[in-house]
Symmetry: C2
DNA sequence: ATAAACCTTAGAGTTAAATCCAAGGTCAAG
DNA sequence: CTTGACCTTGGATTTAACTCTAAGGTTTAT
């Protein structure tokens, strides 16, 4: 069992954030000490890890609450409901992955084109790199200037 | 050239949002009409598409501004600077992809386990599914209840 | 030539998500 | 038995990212 401050330190968040998540139904400590201190279990900690990860990839707290509710309301949902909800979220996640892979390939191209790639300095902005995703690269001279002083 | 309202409709955002992006240095129209109306080019539109995509995968507007600045300040940066910055962003993107792939596989497992998969109803929450990512699935009976009325 | 549908700016208001503050209770160490 | 580091609640404040309002100028269609 972790007290709020311990859990906060462990996950590098503020205690206020944990109380905020509790108030908004995302993460309640599974116990309280006699004097009323919040006591978080390992499962609570896992749940927090999930929340933090989901946030990092662009889900809002209400999206996350929805995902977590699959657990909370377990017995109140029919299979088909659970499956439908999960499948919708899965599509969202896969769409995000596709977007990110496009970014990643554009950024790689940009990185390779900048200084010394085999086809150096063709693309000097993400936008150019994105736009050129299907075009053929052509060797060209370097055109970066030095940083101003 | 698109007027602000046209571009807004095209990308399903508010005109206010476009003015907000301009004020914050993310997207300025490349022209103005004689009477002062904003006129956005196709390149401006591409830039907007990029902003919207980047937002959808969890980048903040200041993250995005940083990515776009690679273009804007093109001539003011040395190659190594550009490359370094791009590579940092690339790492962030790849980390996000890894997170999302973990989510996706957990969600798939959950979806498969719910109603009628070969090993039905083993996992009934994302958390269980996440925790079980390395454990072996065991066939088990369905245990979902019907929705209450 | 006038109404409807656009556009302008400046500034105020909203929402989500956190963060801070005040007044006080708890607990381990010296 | 008190000092310091923790915890409690309730409510105010902040930040990012919009979103709206007001007062007026422009364009297009009838």
């Amino acid at each position: 069992m972790y007290r709020i401050g311990e859990l906060a330190t462990l996950f590098d968040v503020k205690t206020d954030t944990l109380r905020f998540y509790e108030k908004h139904g995302l993460l309640a400590p599974s116990n309280r000490s006699e004097s009323g201190y919040r006591l978080y279990s390992n499962d609570d900690a896992e749940k927090l890890r999930f929340i933090i990860r989901a946030k990092a990839v662009g889900f809002s707290l209400s999206d996350i609450a929805e995902l977590l509710s699959i657990e909370l309301d377990k017995s109140n949902w029919a299979c088909a409901d659970v499956k439908g909800m999960v499948d919708i979220k899965l599509e969202q996640v896969q769409a995000k992955i596709a977007e990110l892979e496009f970014f990643a390939s554009s950024l790689s191209k940009l990185s390779d084109a900048c200084c010394g790639g085999p086809e150096s300095a063709e693309h000097c902005s993400i936008l150019e790199a994105l736009e050129s995703s299907d075009k053929e690269l052509q060797p060209k001279v370097e055109h970066h200037a030095a940083k101003p002083n």
